[in-house]
Symmetry: C2
Amino acid sequence: MADDLTPQNQPDRGAPGRGEAVPAPAVRRLSLYLRELESFLRRDRHTISSKQLGDALNLTDAQVRKDLAYFGQFGHPGIGYRVDELVTRIRCILGTDRIWNVLLVGAGNLGHALLSYRGFGKKGFQIVAVFDSDPRKVGDRLGAPPQLVVQGMEQLAQTVADQNIQLGIIAVPADVAQDVADALVKVGIKGILNFAPTSLNVPEGVPVASVDLAVHLEQLAFRVSANQLATPRWSTNAAP
Amino acid sequence: MADDLTPQNQPDRGAPGRGEAVPAPAVRRLSLYLRELESFLRRDRHTISSKQLGDALNLTDAQVRKDLAYFGQFGHPGIGYRVDELVTRIRCILGTDRIWNVLLVGAGNLGHALLSYRGFGKKGFQIVAVFDSDPRKVGDRLGAPPQLVVQGMEQLAQTVADQNIQLGIIAVPADVAQDVADALVKVGIKGILNFAPTSLNVPEGVPVASVDLAVHLEQLAFRVSANQLATPRWSTNAAP
DNA sequence: GCTTGTGAAACGTTTCACAGCA
DNA sequence: TGCTGTGAAACGTTTCACAAGC
């Protein structure tokens, strides 16, 4: 997607601890496994096989087993995987077995929506500060109680230090996104989730995940067009 | 991505017209190339080399050339690519050389933000209808003028037909997302962009792109943890 | 000089197939 | 029987290297 790419921005690699390198696609699927397992847990299922887990996500059972095996031996032959155990393990692997303090830059429409999004909190991500460079927005109170007060960018360093913030979300227009990213890196933010439709230049060691909403629609348009046209229009390779 | 995947949901394949199959990663990057080229165009640059384009996106020049070559011969040896020409070509390939009518289901926080998001319109995606199953929201006027009136789900079929809507965006809670997807498929929607944190089951032939906001933060958390821990905690493979 | 387009090699990922265990 | 974990084979993608053209 990458992006990565879901349009993922940086060429990322897995985390080779002491052992083998983990393929990036496997790490991406780990999040999906976790989501599915949590849903299984809510439905009071106690064990799950690689086949069941794979079917839910349109993956093969072998793929599921191999992905999980990169991180350890979590399964029980003849039984499958114990759901609660696997959930705990994957959370630990992904680093979501603890609370992450997150800041948001950009108090526009998207910023508002992100601030109110329940999905973050459920996964242990707490947005604890909001910034905007527009003086008219600074001082506004946002979100559900306890509300957050929009701060000016000059307070970034102090707030990041005071609240031990490690992750930053960029929800500003494309033309200022790089400046914001630079500022975040400067104050020691460890990872950036970028919603601005532009690629960011950051030092190695600061991971960036980019989500370009329009790009996803574009990919959809391509696939729909491909479905509709037996012979794609672009296959006419006109000579220059 | 992507991961897709960016956590992309369905295993997708490129569009093999008459020629070779196009790798899905190449199609994902095509969107990024277009974004970068449009930015180049705004800065009045007329030509661009595969090296320059690659550098902007952290890709190799060979990668850029190979990706573009899947779709035709767009370059000029010794010169590079003409920016305006390439923009036109890629838009045609992706299917964004025309207007797409899009509907939105879910008038919550995220729905509001998506409706107000300028990035869609710039790429030719027009949200022309909004639906919500909550009777209290039906009838509300949303977005910038000309505002859209929130419709009940029972009006879906009629509106899709009347307005020639081909794409649908799902921005509802996870537990009703599948029902909404089923409804969209039933009325003939050709592609779905899903923001609900759940995997969708749809018939083959209806492409789905999924964007799970929390998953992207999760991936970031993993990479930040990997940076910080010399030896990942999960490398302790305790025996069961 | 510069650049593209492309076959071939290198690399990475997924699938297969089966040993081993409950 | 049913299931996992895993080496090996199959497949797909990226990189290399260079012929051809401006």
